[in-house]
């Protein structure tokens, strides 16, 4: 089963490597959002530390929506979805594969965005790399878990990606808030109980959304 899961992941990564139609626009949009924020905000150092978390996660959400939308959008073309349905694997594993590909895409986006944010705003985000990695990993998992399920749903309905943004934004607000606050606390060097509470909230949401995604995805793609 894990070999089949890996093949599905590999299929998406290889097709993206060959076509390069999702990651480049995602990275460019993320960089553009980060640049615009940084250029417009001439703030004091402490104010930048307060804002950097929100800006990072807003840029991640806007740019990441491109990758999440295309995770099933690409399957609509040339009967790809029908072929994928013939693959001898449960829908929940298809969800898991798409979810993992989206986590990789968001991680790639943040590998570019975070150094860019640090360079432009001079906020010491890398002072606690381990804690930052925890926040970023949990945030990406949460965004990808909700986004993948909703992307499948939008594909099933046959609607445009604007519907995905409309549905995803309210659902991911708790995750974005928790990530922004946890990143702010990392930037302000105050890793106290408040930080741990945001991390706990993120863990709860991640577990809930992955479980719900795996349970409900079969109903979403049912013909």
């Amino acid at each position: 089963m894990y070999a089949k899961l890996w093949w599905l992941i590999q299929k998406d990564l290889v097709s993206e490597y060959r076509a390069r139609c999702v990651w480049p626009p995602m990275l460019v949009l993320g960089m553009a959002v980060a640049l615009v924020f940084s250029m417009q905000l001439e703030l004091l150092a402490e104010q930048k530390r307060q804002l950097v978390g929100s800006l990072l996660w807003l840029a991640t959400f806007f740019a990441g929506t491109i990758a999440i939308d295309r995770s099933f959008g690409a399957e609509r073309e040339d009967g790809c979805w029908e072929a994928l349905c013939l693959y001898p694997i449960a829908p929940s594993w298809v969800y898991l594969a798409k979810f993992l590909v989206n986590v990789v895409a968001l991680a790639a986006l943040q590998c570019v965005l975070i150094p860019l944010m640090v360079a432009f705003s001079d906020v010491p985000l890398f002072a606690h790399p381990g804690d930052l990695l925890v926040v970023v990993s949990l945030g990406n998992v949460g965004l990808a878990a909700v986004g993948t399920l909703l992307s499948g749903l939008v594909m099933s309905v046959g609607r445009s990606s604007s519907l995905l943004a409309l549905l995803a934004l309210p659902m991911v607000v708790p995750i974005l808030l928790a990530c922004s606050e946890a990143t702010r606390l990392v930037a302000q060097d105050t890793l106290d109980t408040a930080w741990w509470r945001w991390i706990q909230l993120l863990i709860v949401f991640d577990v809930l959304f992955i479980t719900l995604g795996m349970m409900l995805f079969g109903f979403v793609v049912e013909e």
Binding site: P170, V173, L212, L216, F219
Partner: protein, 228 residues
């Protein structure tokens, strides 16, 4: 058969009149019987309506998810009709909750809106079920609509515990469980009971209307099949 239908109609009228009287009694008690709060004065009476609509909105959204989950198990569209009816009334109550809360906040906190954890969670809930209703209206095929809506409702219900527990988990300015006089508490309970009874009946009636619409649609399709 006709007698049974008549008895049922009578029962419905009696239930509707009873629920309306209970709701009217609650609103009258909130306006004229409940003591005036010392610091806020008459504006504090908004709280009786605010809590009642908030309670019903949360229950209705939980009911929407329950209806959706039952549809996914049984594949009977009547459960989807229950889910839709509950979502519509829940959305109206959620909007009223945000509106009355905003009016109350203007007097209590000096602002129409603040990003307090509970307010934020409530606004997110409103957004989730607005999306739910938009998706419902954009899908034609009834079973596909029911499936997709059920999934959205079940994912959306995750926000309800966040609304309830936001005041305990995070520091905010929204009152958690304020101490109040026994008479105020009694009026509040009367308002919650009256509004819940009245709106539950409306949900029931709306569900029946939706079910009848579906049956009429089926009959119309059959007649068209015979004719052409």
């Amino acid at each position: 058969m006709v007698k049974k239908a008549r008895n049922r109609a009578k029962g419905e009228v009696v239930a509707l009149v009873g629920a309306s009287l209970l709701l009217t009694a609650g609103l009258v008690a909130a306006c004229f019987v409940a003591p005036t709060e010392k610091t806020m004065g008459g504006v504090q009476r908004i709280m009786y309506l605010h809590v009642a609509v908030a309670w019903f909105a949360l229950m209705a959204f939980a009911g929407t998810a329950a209806g959706g989950a039952t549809y996914l198990v049984r594949r009977n569209l009547i459960w989807d009709a229950w889910a839709q009816a509950a979502a519509e009334l829940g959305w109206v109550c959620c909007s009223l909750m945000l509106l009355t809360g905003s009016l109350w906040a203007r007097k209590a906190w000096g602002t129409w809106w603040t990003w307090d954890p509970r307010l934020t969670a409530a606004f997110v809930l409103w957004g989730i079920y607005s999306g739910y209703l938009i998706v419902r209206s954009s899908v034609e095929e009834p079973h596909q609509r029911a499936r997709i809506s059920a999934v959205l409702a079940i994912v959306g219900v995750v926000d309800i515990p966040l609304v309830i527990l936001a005041t305990r988990w995070f520091r905010g300015i929204h009152p958690a469980a304020p101490q109040m006089e026994p008479s105020m508490r009694a009026v509040l309970l009367l308002c919650v009971a009256g509004l819940s009874a009245f709106l539950s009946l409306l949900v029931w009636q709306r569900q029946r209307q939706l079910d009848h619409e579906r049956l009429v649609g089926l009959l119309r399709a059959r007649v068209q099949d015979r004719v052409f």
